[in-house]
């Protein structure tokens, strides 16, 4: 769509909002079970990999102006492979959108609206998502620009509020133990940054793609700091052992807030103020990515019709898992097998092919 032209600064909200997703709920536990008090190092590894992959996608986009990642696959690898990649990627995008929605609805159900049927929460959220997606990337980006300050404000508030309860000694020992658990944790931490896929698909929409590079750095830094804040706060308040017992450490963190005065007894409501728009942005971005991804191979398909077709699919995925444990497990499977395969095989593969092509051209 030609009207979807973005300024470089739009990258920030697009990128940050798509990265901070469902993982924010479980991140402390996900990392702590691998690397304990050193989980911040794991997070750093995850952020570095994210930055590197983001920059690779950016580089590929710059070498193939006007094309998104799937179109680059089409150009470099040919139609049959592109078709496979397209199906796999869309499977991943739809799966993540649906399961994130489900985990969101679960947490809303547990902590806030215990009598509201889950399907109702999901449908309302999806209707709003569909409406945003139908308007195209420009509108999505504007909505994200509006939501980002709200989300950041509440998350930062929640990182700062429990500060009177911290015990910095919980971070000790800092450097003891093998390096392997840290790397394993880092491998896990990459999942928290998977939203960087948006770079590959949003890049063609920018008026000045060159300016985007700076914002990639800034966005990863913002994201990393927020995750780090939550992780360190959880570590300093609960200690690494206790975190491994908590299903949603971040929500429990918000429930650990206690001020001396009888105020904010249920501070987790604040978290919901950040969490609901956050779940919305995650849904919208993956919804949009899947549509764009399919249209890159089948360019004749109508955007709106595709958007409608995705609706029942995502709803089905969201309603599919039988319980909380199952939905988390499916998401882990998706991230572990498809997400990481795309990051560790597809992206390097594309880079190699691109370099090969350039060499041949020179000769």
């Amino acid at each position: 769509m030609t009207r979807d032209k973005l300024g470089s600064i739009n990258m920030l909200s697009l990128f940050v909002n798509s990265m901070i997703g469902i993982k924010v709920l479980t991140l402390p536990r996900d990392l702590v079970i691998y690397s304990g008090t050193r989980s911040w190092m794991s997070l750093m590894i995850g952020a570095l990999v994210a930055l590197f992959t983001g920059l690779s996608l950016y580089w590929l986009g710059m070498k193939n102006p006007g094309l998104n990642t799937t179109q680059i696959v089409l150009k470099l690898m040919g139609r049959p492979i592109a078709l496979i990649i397209m199906v796999v990627a869309s499977f991943y995008f739809i799966g993540t959108a649906g399961l994130s929605l489900r985990i969101f609805a679960d947490s809303i159900n547990i902590f806030l609206l215990s009598n509201t049927p889950m399907s109702f929460v999901i449908i309302v959220m999806m209707l709003a998502g569909l409406y945003a997606v139908k308007q195209g990337l420009k509108v999505i980006s504007i909505v994200f620009d509006l939501l980002l300050p709200v989300i950041l404000f509440f998350i930062i508030l929640l990182i700062l509020l429990p500060v009177n309860n911290i015990d910095p000694k919980n971070l000790l020992p800092v450097f003891y133990g093998d390096i392997m658990p840290v790397i394993k944790g880092g491998y896990k931490a990459i999942e928290a940054f998977f939203g960087f896929a948006i770079i590959g698909y949003a890049l063609p929409h920018f008026v000045e793609p060159k300016g985007v590079k700076k914002w990639i750095f800034i966005s990863v830094a913002v994201c990393f700091s927020i995750y780090l804040g939550i992780l360190l706060m959880a570590l300093m308040i609960f200690g690494s052992n206790e975190i491994s017992y908590l299903i949603y450490p971040t929500i429990t963190l918000t429930k650990a807030i206690q001020l001396r005065v009888q105020l904010f007894e249920r501070a987790e409501s604040f978290f919901m103020a950040a969490w609901i728009p956050n779940a919305f942005t995650t849904l919208v971005i993956y919804y949009y990515l899947s549509i764009i991804n399919i249209r890159s191979v089948f360019s004749k398909l109508n955007y709106n019709i595709l958007a409608y077709c995705h609706f029942p699919l995502i709803f089905f995925v969201a309603m599919f898992p039988r319980n909380v444990v199952a939905s988390t497990n499916y998401l882990v499977l998706l991230d572990n097998y498809i997400g990481k395969a795309l990051v560790f095989f597809l992206v390097p593969g594309l880079i190699v092919l691109q370099l090969y092509r350039q060499r041949r051209k020179k000769k």
Binding site: T116, Y176, F238, A256, E265
Partner: protein, 405 residues
């Protein structure tokens, strides 16, 4: 077509935006402000069964789906219209009970908490719970069984204060406070006084207990005792695993807090140097403690380093000493240093000998500072702890001496 769609979406929006599926009117909620957990069957009620009515005891019985009842759970709900401190100033309360205390016998708190609904039309709501009082008998049998649902249920908050009482826990909820309306709020505020006296243990809430239980540390929980209209929170109950193993007196609690770097304030008294009758009282302005392990081969030694900033508050029956003299202040400081070190070492040794429970978290100190040593001795820590050597060094400084010499 468009118009129909527009009207349809208006209707849908009206339905979605105006209603909340989960709304409960504020006045229909039964806010639980305190829970008391006692041992079950032979609970004296103080009510004589009357023939023409069902007795209170009968209400408290509940046919269980599994097993025999072992615990008596009591919840307390405020009767807001009887309160004296009404927020709008509509004036003072009424006669009779200000709270509604419901006791039910059972095992699983989750099961019991639904059984309350057979007796109250207000649905119990646990998010604003202030205190959990647990009787010694229950604590000695283990905390984990009655607390599991409190840790699992998303309605609960982790900052709820937990107290252990030597007698019956229900009595705590029956206290009629002089100024406040509800005993739960009254008791929940007491630990905030720990800046005035460190005999009150202030840092043990549900979340911390959960951390200690999961981390397999020994820990202490504040003790509370009550009369008809007063409660007193001082001293502590010592736990090893999830079972209570003994009581720690007020003075020992203070010393334990000193080792654990929990002192926020309080009073220290010493006999005056060279005067038999004289007492010197000092206020703790600041106290900071740091523990480092010293490992020498097999020998494990804990080095407690502490800095204390004190203010002279009173010289009771002290004659012939001029507190405005540097030499006297120095003499005092040295005297206090020795006396305080002795007191704290005494408590540490007492705990090592009497309880063999590591309530000072020496295990965590080792794990944090010498993880490689900790890995080796982790399994035998219970045997090692009583033999751990402790050295203490307190840097005492007297800052203010008051307004008279």
């Amino acid at each position: 077509m468009r118009i129909i769609l527009k009207i349809l979406s208006c209707i849908v929006l009206c339905v979605i935006l105006t209603g909340c599926w989960d709304h409960v009117e504020l006045e229909d909620r039964g806010y639980v402000i305190g829970i008391a957990i006692d041992k079950g069957p032979d609970l004296p009620q103080g009510y004589e069964p009357r023939e023409e009515y069902l007795s209170e005891r009968d209400l408290e019985k509940m046919p269980l789906q599994v097993g025999q009842p072992q615990y008596a759970y009591t919840i307390q709900m405020p009767i807001v219209s009887k309160a004296q401190n009404l927020p709008t100033g509509t004036g003072g309360g009424g006669e009779g009970d200000k709270t509604w205390d419901l006791t039910i016998l059972g095992n699983s708190l989750a099961e019991v908490s639904r059984q309350y609904s057979t007796r109250t039309n207000y649905v119990p709501f646990y998010s604003h719970i202030q205190i959990i009082a647990i009787s010694e008998e229950v604590a000695r049998d283990g905390l984990l069984p009655p607390l599991d649902t409190l840790l699992r249920d998303p309605e609960m908050r982790r900052r709820t204060r937990v107290f252990i009482t030597p007698g019956e826990a229900k009595k705590i909820l029956n206290v009629e406070p002089k100024i406040d309306d509800y005993p739960s709020f009254y008791l929940a505020d007491l630990p905030l006084n720990s800046s005035k006296t460190s005999r009150v243990l202030h840092k043990t809430d549900l979340g911390e207990i959960s951390e200690h239980l999961h981390g397999n540390h020994a820990f202490i929980v504040p003790r509370v005792i009550s009369t008809k209209d007063e409660v007193k929170s001082a001293g502590a109950a010592v736990f090893k695993g999830d079972k209570m193993i003994g009581w720690l007196g007020e003075l020992d609690t203070m010393n334990v807090e000193w080792v654990k770097n929990l002192v926020l304030g309080g009073m220290l008294t010493f006999s005056a140097p060279g005067e038999k009758e004289g007492i010197i009282a000092l206020e703790i302005a600041k106290a900071k403690t740091d523990i480092k392990p010293i490992i020498n081969g097999e020998n494990i030694k804990m080095s407690i380093k502490s800095k204390a900033l004190l203010n002279l508050e009173e010289q009771f029956r002290v004659h012939g000493h001029d507190s405005y003299k540097v030499t006297y202040i120095k003499e005092l400081q040295n005297m206090i240093k020795d006396a305080l070190e002795d007191r704290i070492l005494d408590t540490v040794k007492y705990v090592q000998k009497e309880f063999e429970a590591d309530i000072f978290y020496f295990d965590m100190v080792l794990e944090r500072h010498r993880p490689e040593v900790w890995e080796k001795i982790k399994a035998d820590w219970d045997e090692i702890f009583p033999k751990v050597e402790v050295e203490i060094d307190i840097d005492v400084r007297i800052e203010h001496t008051g307004t008279t010499r």
